[in-house]
Symmetry: C2
Subunit: 294 residues, 2 copies
């Protein structure tokens, strides 16, 4: 199958590396420089300290246009989607969106493709340079259908070495589950500058963790709160040594995904008239730090 | 006049230096080591980059007991007061308390002295080492009576070079005014890791600054809110380049004054049944950072 992946960040490089085992992958990058490096040197994938060079991947700058593909995977951050949408608006190819948060769902209705899927990536990945990615945490990619039959997406039935996919029945529940995890762990770790595990082991941070979960699960009207809370906690403990993406984004003076993550929750709170004191304070803290730069 | 000053921190050293111009000062320290250094080398006071050595100050470890004094000034942090109180419980000498916050007021009622004053220090001071203090910001010391005649405290009518005193009518208003300033500026700068001015110039931080002022002035039932808000803002701008004491305490892994400052506000909120979401979140953030250590 011909798979086009849009976005040369950590997730784009990780997907290109693993999917190139079974498929003809084209990676569409923002810059011609990155495409040229990948075409000349391949992509270097680091797993458990061992480095593998993958040479069969073609890379093109997105400005060169999108070739014929059998599946197009959007691996850009949510805040970059508006720039990508005009290029895929009329495309009839199956589309898979891997963004965090929930805000991107509103974009999908305007697309012409009859097969639109959304995914939630639970892998850890770190981009070292333009063509090197480290697979820092082996996880899973959950996929659900937004439009069209999930079974028609062959990816979900394939076996990849160290890169499993799994099917989710309901895209809303799948995205909201991930949103709750991200919206509790990311802003707190970013502001408190601790590894994920610190939110559980530090008694004061744990109180903030509980209070933020309470507020957010109330805003999102999560049904099974005890189960959801235990899930967030278990993710925190399973990734105890990790620094969240939002923390490392702030540390490196990069834009964070705060709008995709807390922005959606704040607009839900507003439309439902619910209290959002802690969410809104953390939003302002992260936005303020972001605007301070590196 | 014989003046005893208890506490060899920045404020104790600053007061000892300036008051020794006109008075016989004894500085009571926590450690015998600090007393010995001061007795051998004097106190070095740095103002505007110029260093002056003050040799006439006697220093004693507090464990040696308190000598006869005409005035005793408590220059320890509020969280150290409980250790000092048993030593001054029965003393009949006039007492002056320079602590931040409001919580120490509850201690004063049990003291036997008939002349008890409270002060608010608006100087900037930085302790360089055991006998060196820098006067980083020339301010004022406000003094009000808790018990007894303010006029009997000759200090408030004396002229010191670069070290003015002023009288306040009402200790409650005086302490609450300072408490509002400290409770808005200190926790936010400590958590956001910015200089005081950053709370005004960063648009997101300014929203937090406004929200925290609203919440705290509501809890403390401040009468003249517009005036009070402008006062906090003007302090922030006048000290724009300063890093708050709470920020530098956290940066150096020291205990902060968070309990004296936000602790009192939280107990007021609780007893009045008022919302304290932002105050309580900031309290937990600072306590959590404090418990992480340096």
């Amino acid at each position: 199958m011909r798979i086009g992946i849009i976005g040369g960040g950590a997730i784009g490089l990780l997907f290109a590396s693993h999917l190139s085992e079974n498929h003809r992958v084209t990676l569409y990058t923002h810059t011609a420089e990155q495409a040229s490096i990948i075409n000349h040197e391949g992509i270097r994938l680091i797993v458990d300290g061992e480095s593998r060079l993958l040479a069969g991947i073609v890379s093109k700058s997105l400005d060169e246009g999108i070739s014929d593909e059998d599946l197009l995977i959007m691996a850009v951050k949510q805040y970059h989607l508006p720039q990508i949408l005009p290029r895929i608006n009329d495309i009839q190819v199956p589309l898979l969106f891997l963004q965090n948060g929930y805000g991107h769902i509103s974009y999908l209705k305007q697309l012409q493709s009859q097969a639109i899927y959304v995914g939630v990536v639970e892998h850890g990945a770190l981009k070292h340079d333009l063509n090197t990615v480290e697979h820092t945490g082996l996880g899973i990619t959950r996929i659900a259908s937004f439009k069209g039959e999930l079974e028609q997406l062959s990816l979900v039935n394939e076996m990849f070495d160290q890169f499993p996919f799994t099917k989710s029945e309901d895209y809303h529940t799948m995205l909201v589950d991930k949103l709750v995890v991200n919206s509790v762990i990311n802003p707190l770790t970013a502001i408190l500058a601790v590894e994920n595990g610190g939110l559980i082991t530090n008694a004061y941070y744990y109180q903030l963790f509980q209070a933020l979960f309470e507020e957010i699960s109330g805003i999102l009207e999560i049904q099974n709160r005890t189960e959801s809370f235990e899930h967030v906690k278990s993710v925190c403990m399973a990734t105890a040594e990790n620094r969240s993406s939002m923390l490392t984004d702030l540390e490196n003076g990069r834009k964070t995904e705060i709008d995709a993550i807390l922005g959606h929750i704040l607009s839900e709170a507003k439309s439902k008239g619910k209290s959002d004191c802690l969410t809104s304070s953390l939003y302002k803290m992260v936005k303020g730090k972001e605007s301070q730069g590196g």
